[in-house]
Symmetry: C2
DNA sequence: GTCTATACGCCGATAGAC
DNA sequence: GTCTATCGGCGTATAGAC
């Protein structure tokens, strides 16, 4: 029967997107229920119908991250250029759904949210495993730390818009470094 | 005349240390004036005598960082093992005064505190300059990102106590990678 | 499903006693 | 220099109308 499948309410998705955007742009502290409701175009009461409290909102963001990370890990494992080069290139913040979910979760980890930190460590471990299969366990660490450094630095420049040209050149420097380490 | 030089009040220093510790341990949001006063063993009113508002507290932390960073940059420039190796080794969070000031400032940068981000970018640029003089401008980026990645990851494990043994091994992996990049 | 109104606590900051 | 008392504002959450 057409139309009987559970469609997610639009408002709910809008709220979640708004929360994600605000986490990215202004951090967890300023991503208040008021601000989220305002950006999503609903009232605070409306927001709290879909997400009974702020924790529920956070859980939804982390759940979204898990799904996107699973897809991304599959792509990384199958990348023809190798996991290491794929990883470095994807560490350039390009505003994909995965990037957005990742950075949003980072904001939560920053304020010592335990569950966010757990999910994070989990994903990073899986990255490391794929890198180790590509360049060996020792150099895998070097590659992962390079990617992490790239990512975290980009986050502080106000998003993908900030210093894109310079950072793109940095990525090529890192790819070159990876090639040298591999050889 | 002995005793006429301005000695910093002990309480003031205790408050500043407490603020720094709480920033490191629980992040900016939970480092409230109440929490800081409690940890420092003074009342909120007592705290606000030394620092008229929270911004003053933040400024003091950033000022402390600048002084310690200046000293550290001098050591890095003169390091016999070379700036790159010195940099990687010092990126292991070892709870020095410099490390503490740095991580505390990071917490402020995380919540989009503009002045904190400026100081940060400034210090990182100086690191990069020293690295470039050691290993060339291109590889300097790779080294700096490795150090950054190491640092940021360590920050999420609740401080220098977390996973120290494993991380120490990581540092040696990175140093090995640097040596290969240099050669 | 979405709104308004409101309760309640916590945070930053002021006033003023000691 | 350090304290207590207190205020205004904001953030989360609840109650209940529509």
């Amino acid at each position: 029967m057409i139309g009987t499948m559970a469609r997610k309410p639009v408002a709910r998705e809008a709220v979640l997107d708004a929360f994600e955007s605000l986490l990215i742009e202004v951090g967890e502290r300023a991503a208040t229920l008021d601000a989220v409701a305002g950006r999503a175009g609903v009232s605070k009461g409306g927001l709290l119908y879909h997400f009974p409290n702020k924790e529920a909102l956070i859980s939804a963001v982390l759940h979204r991250l898990d799904e996107l990370a699973r897809e991304d890990l599959a792509l990384m494992a199958a990348a023809p250029e190798g996991a290491a080069v794929y990883f470095i290139r994807s560490s350039l913040w390009s505003d994909t759904p995965m990037d957005r979910a990742f950075v949003a979760a980072t904001r939560l980890a920053e304020v010592a949210h335990e569950e966010a930190r757990r999910r994070f460590a989990n994903i990073q471990q899986q990255w490391l495993d794929l890198l180790a299969a590509d360049v060996g366990p020792d150099m895998a660490k070097a590659v992962r730390y390079m990617g992490d450094g790239l990512y975290f630095n980009a986050m502080w420049e106000g998003g993908p818009a900030g210093a894109t040209v310079e950072r793109r050149a940095d990525v090529e420097s890192l790819v070159a470094a990876v090639e040298r380490l591999r050889g």
